[in-house]
């Protein structure tokens, strides 16, 4: 405006004072919040007031002057791109941190380095002790009970180590499962908090407030959320009526291969959303259908692969969100079942620790679920590997110590005393392998025929009560040495948790078999020890083939390790160690990246005392200047009012 009222200039000074005061408040807010986590520094937006419009007395030569300063808003200094990068790196860092913690717990059980007396290790030392006892027995203890006792005592210690380790691994698994459940609860809690904040921010926006502190809180929660799952954060506009729009937060899962529908096509806009404005999902772990025979208060069991489901998008009052489906119609939001690689971040890391079985994966898993399943190893892998080791150990010792009934009882022989099968073919016995082979075809197994005292075949070949003892094996005191229960001799389904000294060995009914060769009872050979030597050989040196199908016939038949028991133990430990090293290395990389981004973010959004101090001085000066202007204006007008035309 060309002309200005007499007192109009006061307004300019007043506005100046307001602006400086407001700016000082903002500076004060920044300084006091320097240590508030997630705080973004604020800045006062000022605009010069433009006095526009037509003027009754205007002229084209007059000078238009602005009307002072108006403070339009307080804004935040934040770089959203840095947020995106930070959250991406954070989820990887958190994932590796969780994985490393899990692996370190496993190492606490399985790592033998520096443990045991003289750093001999615990498991390793016990195996070595067993071998030493066997060696002594083979050298000078054959036929002597006290040596059998020494070997048995050493074996008992070994077996209880198996049990202990299996127990510890199971404890780790249970603890990790609890941690996983806790993670799910935490995520759900964060989502609920964000929902509340979204509501508040929306209201604040509608009423014209900037909601900066609320947004800071929300960003902090989003940072926390990004640790658990990898997320995509974006903002959309939401119309609220009368042409007004407010900002709406949308958070989606950022999965590795994008969201796919049932046909394998990308889902597009209907991606898996965690948050859509006021609507949020809730995560849950899938459970098995309830067993109809279970009591009503029995807890739900999770499915084996701990798959997860995201519930439908729900408002704070429990209303489902209306979403567009592929046909373009609006339907209620539905739950989404997540596939194996959808989640990345702490949640997935825990999940992988709890479910990945490495080489013990089924072909179905590799084909349909995760092609990399065979190289991912979690707690169950180590549990299965330990079980496999226990089974091989018990199985090979039991085999070495047992002869089948076809040797212990009389079988049909021809006139030359050679065993024959039902068709009359001559057989050759191989006591070492516990089998009979056809004399003409040494690779083909044969089946001898049980007989009575007169060398006549028994009518019922399976009726053990009719069997006649073979005197050449009257020395036989073998049998299973390990069973699945210390109170019995059952050798089926031996695992690391249940492997025990068989009751027969514990009571002395069975001993370590000295030889599998037949011995004429009239000419005893009390110190033959070829079988003890054989047992020593298989314990110390033998190259066993370890295949996943040994544990479960449905698994792969590929040998993934060939070596001795202790060699397998080393393989387990070095697999774990390599995994730990790699995870450690990756974690360090990601942590470095995270720290750098944190620093970058802080350099944009963080409060610097020097900065604020200079601002303070600046606004102080502006305030003084405005006050000075006021005083001067006052003096001037005073002159006009009181000193002119008096």
């Amino acid at each position: 405006m060309g002309t200005i009222s007499t007192a109009g200039a006061y307004n300019i000074a007043k506005l100046g004072i307001y602006a400086a005061q407001k700016a000082m408040e903002v500076t004060g807010n920044n300084i006091t919040n320097i240590n508030t986590p997630g705080y973004t520094r604020q800045r006062l937006e000022q605009k010069s007031m433009y006095m526009g419009g037509a003027d009754r007395y205007s002229s084209k030569w007059e000078a238009r002057v602005g009307g002072g300063v108006i403070t339009t808003s307080v804004s935040q200094l934040r770089d959203p791109y840095l947020d995106i990068r930070y959250r991406t790196e954070m989820s990887s860092a958190a994932a590796y941190e969780t994985k490393l913690k899990g692996l370190q717990q496993l190492a606490g059980v399985l790592d033998e380095v520096g443990k045991g007396s003289d750093d001999e290790g615990v498991f390793e030392a016990q195996f070595n002790d067993l071998i030493a006892q066997l060696t002594d027995m083979a050298a000078s203890g054959a036929g002597k009970d006290e040596y059998d006792t020494l070997v048995r005592t050493s074996a008992k210690s070994l077996v209880s180590l198996f049990n202990t380790y299996a127990g510890k691994l199971e404890t780790i698994r249970q603890n990790t499962l609890k941690s996983f459940e806790q993670d799910v609860n935490t995520i759900n809690g964060i989502l609920q908090k964000i929902q509340t904040l979204n509501d508040s921010i929306r209201k604040s926006d509608i009423h014209g407030g900037p909601g900066l502190e609320l947004r800071d809180e929300r960003n902090l929660l989003l940072d926390q959320l990004s640790e658990y799952v990898k997320i995509n954060v974006r903002y959309e506009s939401e119309p609220v009526g009368a042409g007004l729009t407010v900002e709406k937060l949308i958070v989606e899962l950022d999965s590795e291969d994008g969201r796919l529908d049932a046909n394998g096509d990308p889902l597009g806009n209907n991606g898996a959303q965690l948050i859509n404005g006021r609507y949020i999902t809730q995560f849950s772990i899938d459970t098995k259908p309830k067993d109809p025979n279970a009591p009503p208060d029995a807890p739900d069991e999770y499915v084996d692969n701990l798959s997860m489901t995201m519930g439908p998008l729900t408002s704070p009052s429990g209303k489902l969100m209306r979403v567009k489906n592929d046909a373009g119609n609006y339907v209620d939001s539905t739950a989404i079942k997540l596939t194996d690689n959808d989640l990345l971040g702490r949640l997935q890391a825990n999940r992988e620790l709890l479910t990945e079985v490495g080489e013990f994966s089924t072909q179905d898993t590799v084909d349909n679920v995760d092609p990399n399943a065979q190289t991912k190893r979690g707690i169950p892998y180590y549990q299965k590997a330990l079980d496999l080791m226990a089974q091989k150990f018990a199985g090979s010792w039991n085999d070495a110590n047992t002869l089948p009934d076809t040797f212990l009882y009389k079988v049909q022989t021809n006139n030359n005393g050679e065993p024959i099968d039902a068709a009359g073919n001559v057989l050759v016995a191989d006591p070492q392998k516990g089998k009979y082979y056809l004399k003409d075809k040494p690779d083909t197994e044969g089946t001898p025929v049980f007989v009575d005292d007169q060398n006549n075949p028994l009518a019922d070949q399976t009726d053990k009560t009719q069997y006649v003892d073979n005197p050449m094996y009257s020395h036989y005191n073998g049998g299973p040495l390990f069973s699945n229960n210390g109170n019995g001799n059952d050798i089926s389904n031996i695992t690391a948790a249940n492997i025990s000294i068989s009751q027969a060995w514990a009571t002395g009914a069975t001993k370590i078999l000295q030889t599998k060769q037949p011995i004429d009872p009239d000419h005893p050979q009390t110190t033959l020890q070829d079988n003890i030597q054989h047992l020593l050989s298989i314990t110390a040196d033998n190259n066993f083939e370890y295949k996943p199908s040994d544990l479960d016939p449905n698994l792969s038949n590929t040998t993934f390790f060939t070596g001795s028991y202790q060699g397998f133990l080393t393989k387990m430990c070095s697999t774990l160690a390599e995994d730990t090293r790699i995870s450690n290395g990756r974690l360090e990389n990601y942590v470095t990246a995270v720290n750098e981004l944190y620093g970058d973010r802080d350099s944009v959004s963080g409060v610097d005392l020097n900065d604020e101090a200079i601002n303070m001085m600046q606004y102080n000066k502006a305030y003084s200047a405005s006050c000075r202007l006021l005083t001067t204006m006052d003096e001037m007008i005073d002159k006009l009012v009181n000193g002119t035309a008096v």
């Binding site: 300084i31 320097i34 240590n35 190492a107 790592d111 380095v113 520096g114 750093d119 290790g121 390793e124 070595n128 002790d129 071998i131 030493a132 060696t135 002594d136 083979a138 050298a139 000078s140 036929g143 002597k144 191989d430 070492q432 392998k433 000419h523 005893p524 050979q525 110190t527 033959l528 020890q529 070829d530 030597q533 054989h534 050989s537 040196d541 033998n542 202790q566 080393t570 430990c573 070095s574 160690a577 390599e578 730990t580 090293r581 720290n595 750098e596 944190y598 620093g599 970058d600 802080d602 350099s603 944009v604 963080g606 409060v607 610097d608 005392l609 900065d611 101090a613 200079i614 001085m617």
Partner: protein, 347 residues
């Protein structure tokens, strides 16, 4: 950290991270000094850890093999002494028997007494051959919990593990041959390995079985005479004992001729025993050499284990001192950079 704007907290954050990194390095260095090990977990050095455990397994095996070796050597040594004793008895017998001395001596009446002494020497030899070492009978092959040599009930025949040493029947021959061929394999560090059928590769194990019948001889020769030295002594002793106590005349015709013949055969038996005796000595000597080899292996293994696992003390302490220095320097800087800003200088 961003180059253009470093905030108060940004500086603190960076300092905190670096200080913690420095402290971790110090902690790691301290652990190495305390434990004296180059690695304290499998993950720190998986290759070295695997190697270390393999070396330790070898070390345990080596100790067991040394024990075995010394056990076998001791029992062989005992056997050697026993055979020496028996040989001496045989030698004495030969020196004194009628062939060289008795037939020509004017004092033929001593024959009966000599015969008695020879018989007693034979008994003593049997007792010697039943020597026991550490709960096992030395010369009993694979039946060393039972006494190997016994006289038959009628006292006329020597039995080895229940079988007549003269082996007059096919069955007895088969049994005795089987006993002579018996093996008791032990691992004394020759690289013990098994064939695919579960039997040991013989060149990788050591046979510690000693068969008494093998040392003393067994079976009957073409003349129908025993090959066993003690049976020979017995028959010689019997012939002499049956001589007339007053004039030393032989009890039956053909006794003298038989005595001559048996004495020659006793000499042969003694010669054969000597061969086995020397063989035994060689075996014992081999075990001595093997012990030296095993001990040397033990030392090498020990060195290798220390090489892989043990930290050089000087290096460890130096590293720790350097880590300590860096940490102290970091601490000192902290107090300087963190305290002040422009606000402190404003009036």
């Amino acid at each position: 950290m961003n180059l253009y704007r470093i905030t108060t907290n940004g500086l603190m954050f960076g300092y905190k991270n670096h200080l913690q990194g420095s402290y971790k390095k110090l902690a790691d260095a301290m652990v190495k000094v305390e434990t004296g090990r180059t690695f304290n977990s499998y993950a720190e050095d998986p290759a070295a850890a695997s190697k270390a455990f393999q070396l330790r397994r070898n070390y345990w095996r080596n100790e067991a093999q040394l024990r075995n070796n010394n056990n076998v050597r001791s029992s062989f040594s005992q056997a050697y002494d026993t055979i020496d004793l028996v040989k001496n008895k045989l030698g004495w017998c030969l020196a004194n028997d009628g062939t060289l001395v008795g037939l020509n001596t004017p004092d033929a009446s001593g024959r009966q007494a000599l015969g008695q002494e020879i018989l007693e020497a034979a008994n003593a030899a049997v007792q010697s051959m039943n020597a026991n070492y550490s709960g096992n009978f030395l010369f009993a092959g694979a039946d060393s919990l039972n006494v190997p040599f016994e006289w038959s009930e009628d006292g006329k025949t020597l039995l080895y593990r229940g079988v007549d040493v003269n082996a007059t029947t096919d069955e007895a021959k088969k049994l005795l041959q089987g006993m002579v061929d018996e093996k008791t394999y032990v691992d004394i560090g020759l690289g013990m390995q098994e064939n695919s059928d579960g039997t040991p590769i013989t060149s990788t194990v050591y046979n510690s079985a000693l068969c008494g019948a093998d040392f003393l001889g067994w079976g009957t020769d073409a003349d129908g005479d025993p090959k066993n030295a003690i049976m020979l002594m017995k028959e010689i002793g019997d012939i002499l004992k049956n001589c007339n106590s007053e004039n030393g005349d032989f009890a039956q015709a053909g006794d003298e001729e038989r005595l001559n013949r048996l004495s020659k055969k006793l000499q042969t038996s003694l010669d054969q025993m000597n061969v086995k005796f020397v063989e035994l000595g060689t075996k014992a000597q081999f075990l001595n050499t093997n012990e030296t080899k095993l001990k040397s292996e033990k030392d090498t293994l020990n060195e290798q284990i220390l090489d892989v696992e043990k930290m050089n003390d000087a290096e460890a302490i130096t590293n720790m001192a350097w880590a300590q220095y860096c940490y102290n320097a970091a601490l000192k800087i902290g107090t300087n950079i963190l305290s002040e800003s422009l606000i402190d200088y404003m009036r």
